[in-house]
């Protein structure tokens, strides 16, 4: 039997927007399908083995915690994450986690957090209001176009390099910088997004896409589940965003 092996990076620090909900959804949906589920937390100072996990999750945190994690990522986890990405493991960063997957995050004059450089993006916190609200984006991952809906709340503006693909096109909301019309970034199976809410419960198709991709199978191979409530929550989140 398959087992989905998930590594939660800094779950006690990078969890501010109910990131636990994302992990819970992965766990339950595996359990309901008879797929094994293994969750390994990896915290400050702990070494990371990039070869023993199928999916890495990095959530959002307060500034102070994000600073601690940025340093630690560079020093103890960067190489393992690059090795994991190279062999096709899924790496998902949400909000602060997304920022740390990029090249750098400039918090203010003279303060720049380093990123692990898995995504070719740079984030700058500008002296403008935070970008807060319901958001919906259109993404295209292996197949047709689908909608992700959630909530965003970020002070940083993220800019993609010319060669970096976004995760999706903004239908409603701000996205990366409130201007360019794009949201998140995606390189292979490394994905960064500002959508929390949390993301996976109300976008169950995306949760299943992550599970299948991390296991190296096709989504169609996953046992179908009764998603009446999940679909209703997705509609609710889209409605809240006005899509």
């Amino acid at each position: 039997m398959n087992t989905l092996r998930v590594c939660a990076l800094y779950p006690d620090l990078m969890n501010i927007y109910a990131d636990r909900g994302n992990l819970l959804v992965l766990e339950r949906r595996c359990a309901w399908r008879g797929i094994g589920f293994q969750l390994t937390p990896c915290g400050l100072g702990e070494p990371l083995d990039g070869g023993t996990h199928d999916l890495f999750y990095l959530g959002g945190g307060q500034d102070r915690d994000q600073r601690l994690c940025a340093e630690d990522l560079i020093h103890t986890k960067r190489d393992a994450l690059h090795a994991a990405a190279a062999r096709g493991a899924v790496i998902l960063g949400v909000c602060g986690g997304y920022q740390l997957l990029g090249r750098s995050y400039e918090l203010g004059p003279g303060e720049q957090l380093p990123g692990v450089e898995l995504l070719d993006v740079r984030t700058v916190r500008e002296d403008h209001p935070r970008l807060i609200g319901n958001v919906a984006i259109e993404v295209s991952l292996s197949g047709g176009e689908r909608v992700l809906a959630g909530f965003e709340n970020h002070g940083g503006r993220t800019r993609l390099s010319a060669g970096q693909a976004p995760l999706g096109r903004v239908l409603k909301g701000y996205g990366n910088d409130g201007r360019g019309g794009f949201e998140g970034a995606c390189s292979g199976n490394v994905i960064g997004t500002y959508l929390h809410g949390p993301l996976l419960p109300k976008n169950i198709w995306f949760a299943d896409w992550l599970i299948a991709t991390a296991l190296g199978i096709d989504v169609a191979e996953l046992t179908p589940l009764d998603d009446t409530l999940e679909d209703a929550a997705h509609r609710g989140a889209r409605q809240a965003a006005g899509v």
């Binding site: 927007y17 909900g21 909530f151 609710g236």
Partner: protein, 426 residues
Amino acid sequence: MRLQPDAIGVLGSRLARGSVLVSATNGKTTTAAMAAAILEREGVRLVHNRAGANMAGGIASTLLAAAHGREAIDGELGLFEVDELWLQQLAVQLRPRALLLGNLFRDQLDRYGELETIADSWAHTVRDVLDPDARLVLNADDPVVADLGRGRARVVYFGVDDDSLALPHMAHAADAKHCRNCGAPYLFEAVYLGHLGRYSCPSCGQARPVPAVRATDVRLEGVRSARFTLHTPTGAADVALPLPGLYNVYNALAAAALAHALEVPLETIVAGLESAHAAFGRAESVPIDGRELRILLVKNPAGANEVLRTLVLEQGEHDLLGVLNDNIADGRDVSWIWDADFELLAGQVRVATCSGTRAPELALRLKYAGVEPERIRVLPELPAAFSLALADTPSGGALYALPTYTAMLSLRELLSADGKARSALS
């Protein structure tokens, strides 16, 4: 209503005994209600924003309603609960003689921002705004709040001393894990509620202050009441609190510590606490159609966790009406329900009716918390959801309503409009 900018300060200065401010993430309204019950028993005439309107507008209205003539006001002491973000501005205007700070939890991040931001603003208020002679009343068990008293004289700390209440581990959504003084992670010897407990910093030695006002021998009696022994520097007494849960024991301790700082005798404090009523929508009980409706406001993870923890002290399977709104006053972001420990309800739900503007999201949360989907139904319109949930509740049984803030207001409106519960709510 247009007011001159310093109207609150001008009207507040009419109060012969000055003002007292109460702020916290959770428990402001209840704590202020308890303090009012104590102070009124002592014969103090209060000007009090009882209904919980706790920003500048609400406090200005409260003062205006009490003021008359050019200089007079009905009341001698202002007792104001204050929104966390408005504390600084209102403290500048009202120059309080006492300030009570109860707790700081993760709350409505889309409105309040990070917890550290509020902690910094409170620190500034205490350091630069609060009169040096003013009494500061702080929760010793909340490291962020207790730290505000560092280096200050005349602080009254309150806290719980009862290890039988300690949780096996810190709640998932706990914040404030790092020392405000040096940044190292705190060591917790006991965790009572969220990040409240007995802690110390292994790096700089900063530790929980010894509380002058404390509770021992706490007994939680389901959703109805709690008992504890109250200790103050003037003595000790048993308290039968007509409100449930450890969170209300904390509210009672806060009110007792404030009253102690205002030199109210212990007997009066105890009598006041024992006569306290549930504040608007907080553990209110309404008899209706041969059932009992219990309204338990939920609005952030820490508060919801305490409500859920208290609810499951009651045996058996429960009828629930969960109402999740995402209006501005609730927070537009409903993420927080995934941080609250709804897992406590698994195996304890007979029927859960989910309502409100984000009803399906709440239903989904319950499903992933382990409540069987067959027991969950979704009815976004509150009147229909309420009628059905009530009709399905066995006669003589209890329906537990868990509404967010605006949902609680709608539910109360519905009850009054029905006339069914007018007497109970009046």
